[in-house]
């Protein structure tokens, strides 16, 4: 049918610019990256080196552990706070919600700078601990500082997802549970948490992926930190080891992509992710 | 509103099969006279909306089907150029425009000059009694008001054919009734060729010059409301319009004998049964009736009583009694059934 053909052509034309951009500047380069990753000193076994060489393994391990820790902690905090905000109406609620989601788009650099402000050499926490314990606890430039920074940008993200899910909770299920005698704690455990599980999983996966790929914060908090994005950066800029950087990027990209695909399968499209 | 531009519609061997293989409409021939209102009536999935969309030009018939507007073959003409007026079930009013702007849209698109355009818009709004709503935004309107805007918008460009797809379905019962009267008046005054799709038999009977009852992709029967009601072609039509009582019986010595009674009968045994309407049963003086039945339930409905009766046959019989009297459950009553009102059904 001529009409159908014309429609198809029209649609293709509308999609074409975006498609071309993608093909030329994303798909092609990624393909090149795979190839480059296998064309260095080690050849294709560079990809294996990612998993076998100790220092790479250690940095992956550290990054995964950090991301998992951040995810776990953030989910608990966001879970309680998000559900609380969604289900209680009180004066100032909208303001608090706005405050909590404001840092959503802060770049890693800014967050890193704020961690320095909190826990750097002249930071608030060291002042505090100095006052109470006589010792300055400076932890900005270590994994602990990174942890704080990552939690900082993860909370706004996860809270939005949790609140959206909490909004969809069906009050009738809780009413039914209460009519059968369940107290508040049991209602939370048996009705609310299971209903929120997909949202938690999705938010958690996004949080994990973002932490894995985060770079700006680590970069600002400088060099002693051994997370994969930093290793990629140093391999590329300082060691000029493009092949290794490419191979590491690919593996890292694979992990984050898989985590996000998992999140998407659970929830459709939801909250943003950024650097 | 002038009538010079209305046109006849003819469907020639139009069928429609979807991409997944479902046959929504079997090959159909249909002629609608210029100025006539034909109602497509049927349950959901019967093909009535499919047929409407073919006439509109939103979909194309399968290979070999043709659609004619008067002498013009419009099969390959898309809806944008067919000059039809269409009212959708969900109204499809443009939220970003006011009532006035919505009604003017078809004229603006056709580059009708401003003066002529405003005059026509004004006329259409007047006709639908919504002149005072001209500047309102769509989300401020009630369901009934939106419906009128949709109608005003469809008729403003003076289309040659008016197509309505279940326009009243989204409204509550009372509103439906009052709007039905208005639409009837509108259609009579416009004298425009109209195709109206609905699943509500009351609307069909009130609005259609002819009704096409559709079932599973086919037209089961097409005729005036009276023809359809009094002489349904088959059980489906009989059941869809009004309430159908169906009896099966045996012919013996000039009588048709069935559970509960008998009537004089000249023809052969009707294999698909006979149909009569609830109002065809009259309460008889004991001894003079030809049908006896027991009352199962009596529904008092204000201006009449709906009696559910057990004649001893498999199905129950419904009678519509206007006399004022009380009925007792289990009571045995005698009725007179006029054999002239019996309709033989084919399947």
């Amino acid at each position: 049918m001529a009409r159908n053909v014309r429609e198809r052509v029209q649609l293709a034309a509308l999609m074409a610019p975006a498609a071309i951009l993608f093909a030329a500047f994303f798909l092609l380069p990624l393909a090149q990256l795979v190839v480059i990753g296998g064309s260095g000193k080690l050849g294709w076994s560079a990809y294996l080196a990612v998993f076998t060489e100790t220092r790479y393994l250690k940095s992956f391990g550290a990054t995964i552990a950090l991301s998992a820790g951040v995810t776990f902690f953030t989910l608990i905090v966001s879970g309680v706070t998000g559900v609380f905000l969604e289900r209680n109406r009180f004066r100032g609620r909208a303001f608090l919600t706005a405050l909590l989601t404001l840092p959503l788009a802060f770049p890693g650099v800014v967050i890193g700078s704020m961690v320095i402000m909190l826990a750097g050499r002249q930071g608030l926490v060291p002042d505090f601990t100095d006052f109470f314990f006589g010792e300055r606890l400076v932890f900005a430039y270590s994994m602990a500082g990174l942890f704080v920074g990552y939690v900082y940008f993860s909370i706004p993200r996860t809270i939005l997802t949790v609140m959206a899910a909490a909004e969809k909770l069906d009050p009738r299920l809780e009413e039914a549970a209460r009519s059968l005698g369940a107290g508040p704690f049991m209602v939370v455990r048996d009705v609310i948490l299971p209903a929120l599980k997909p949202a938690f999983l999705a938010a958690g996966a996004i949080c994990f992926a973002t932490s894995m790929g985060a770079f700006g914060t680590a970069f600002t908090l400088a060099t002693r930190i051994n997370v994969v994005p930093m290793v990629i950066y140093t391999e590329f800029t300082l060691q000029a080891n493009v092949a290794m950087a490419a191979a590491l990027s690919f593996v890292l990209g694979g992990i984050t992509w898989a985590a996000l695909a998992f999140a998407r399968s659970l929830s459709g499209s939801s909250v943003a992710a950024s650097g | 509103m002038n009538t010079a531009s209305n046109v006849s519609i003819r469907l020639e061997q139009c069928a429609r099969t979807y991409e997944d293989g479902t046959r929504a409409l079997e090959a159909t021939d249909l002629t609608i006279q210029a100025g006539e209102t034909v109602v497509f009536l049927g349950p959901s999935g019967c093909g009535k909306t499919t047929t409407l969309r073919l006439i509109a030009g939103l979909d194309e018939p399968d290979e070999g089907g043709k659609v004619w507007f008067g002498k013009e073959d419009v099969t390959a003409v898309p809806i944008e150029r067919r000059n039809v007026g269409m009212v959708f079930q969900s109204y499809a009013l443009f939220p970003n425009m006011s009532v006035e702007e919505n009604v003017a849209y078809g004229l603006r698109v056709r580059k009708v000059p401003f003066d002529k355009r405003s005059k026509r818009v004004h006329e259409s709004l007047e006709m639908m009694h919504i002149s005072d709503l001209a500047k309102r935004r769509i989300d401020q309107l009630s369901g009934g008001q939106r419906q009128r805007v949709a109608l005003a918008r469809a008729i403003a460009p003076r289309p040659r054919v008016l197509l309505l797809d279940e326009p009243l379905t989204a409204l509550d019962a009372k509103l439906r009734e009052s709007l039905r009267v208005e639409i009837n008046r509108l259609l009579r005054s416009l004298e425009i060729t109209t195709v109206y799709v609905t699943h509500d038999q009351g609307e069909a009977m009130a609005l259609g010059d002819r009704i096409a009852v559709m079932d599973r992709g086919r037209i089961a029967q097409i005729g005036t409301p009276e023809e359809i009601y009094r002489s349904p072609a088959n059980a489906f039509v009989a059941d869809f319009i009004g309430t159908m009582n169906r009896i099966f019986g045996q012919v013996a010595s000039g009588l048709l004998v069935f559970p509960g009674g008998s009537v004089p009968w000249n023809g052969p045994t009707p294999t698909a049964g006979l149909m009569f309407r609830p109002e065809d049963l009259k309460i008889a003086v004991p001894g003079s009736g030809n049908l006896t039945a027991q009352v199962v339930t009596a529904f008092f409905l204000g201006d009449h009583v709906r009696l559910v009766l057990d004649t001893g046959a498999e199905g129950l019989v419904i009678a519509r009694i206007s006399e004022r009297r009380n009925f007792v459950k289990g009571e045995t009553l005698e009725f007179t059934l006029d054999p002239q009102t019996l309709v033989s059904l084919e399947d």
Partner: protein, 271 residues
């Protein structure tokens, strides 16, 4: 839907949760405020009591004028590109839901899923040797567009999916409108909330983009966040804070506008 569990305002559970919420808020906002004030103090050690000055801010605005302006330029260009590429794409995705379009959606999201440095690296290895392109700001623009496009598409697509696009278009077609008339007269105006929300998102993300830009930039094409990292690494804390302050002044109004826009959308959808 509101839960019907009525926790008495006095219940300890409520206050505990409130306390936690307030702590979290403080955790998030306090550093922002501290950072902003630090940018105007004479000396960070002495704090506000030591005196307020604008010299750090002035220094930033003079020394880093280039990067700041470039970031703004990039953000606007990025917005223009995502509007031109993203709105038509969203339209196609809204009208057709099949395996093919789902694949396209997955594809669009990939630059967000893949870490910024990986994308940047890929771009460098492919186009790194192309001289003038590599050293121009367009190179960075490409990265930004790749990263922000899915957000524009998603935002517009969300609104397009919530209005009955098909029936609206059929209504317009029945009145004689061709594609161009429908697209600009009916479809775009009714997606305005999604376009605005998407635009704010794109601009905000572009202004703050660091991961990709760090690798893609050259000394001549430095952006605001890159300059920011630079000052923290090499200069006084006050200068870095002043720079952060400038950044906040630019971005916080955008973030507030974004929240307001998304509230407006979700309020509309509830009607």
């Amino acid at each position: 839907m509101q839960a019907s569990i009525k926790q008495s305002r006095r219940a300890p559970f409520f206050w505990m949760q409130l306390a936690l919420t307030l702590t979290v808020c403080a955790f998030l906002i306090l550093p922002v405020l501290m950072s902003m004030t630090a940018g105007v103090t004479l000396n960070y050690m002495t704090g506000v009591s030591g005196g307020i000055t604008t010299r750090w801010v002035e220094k930033v605005l003079t020394d880093y004028r280039g990067p700041i302006l470039l970031s703004l330029q990039l953000a606007i260009a990025c917005l223009a590109c995502t509007l031109l590429l993203g709105i038509p794409a969203a339209y196609v995705l809204a009208k057709h839901q099949n395996a093919f379009t789902r694949a396209i959606e997955e594809l669009l999201v990939m630059p967000v899923a893949v870490p910024g440095i990986a994308t940047a690296l890929a771009l460098i290895v492919t186009y790194g040797s192309s001289g003038s392109f590599r050293t121009s700001w367009l190179f960075i623009l490409v990265g930004h567009v790749l990263f922000t496009l899915p957000f524009m598409v998603r935002s517009v697509l969300a609104v397009m999916s919530s209005i009955d696009l098909k029936t609206l278009e059929e209504g317009a077609r029945s009145l004689g409108a061709n594609f161009t008339q429908r697209f600009f007269g009916i479809i775009l105006p009714n997606c305005s909330s999604g376009i605005i929300a998407g635009s704010l998102m794109v601009v905000t993300l572009s202004l703050g983009e660091f991961n990709m830009t760090l690798l893609l930039h050259t000394p001549l094409t430095q952006t605001l966040p890159v300059g920011l990292a630079d000052t923290y690494a090499s200069l006084r804390l006050e200068v870095g804070s002043a720079y952060t302050l400038v950044f906040f002044v630019i971005i916080v109004p955008l973030l507030i506008a974004m929240q307001w826009a998304s509230n407006a959308i979700s309020r509309r959808e509830r009607i």
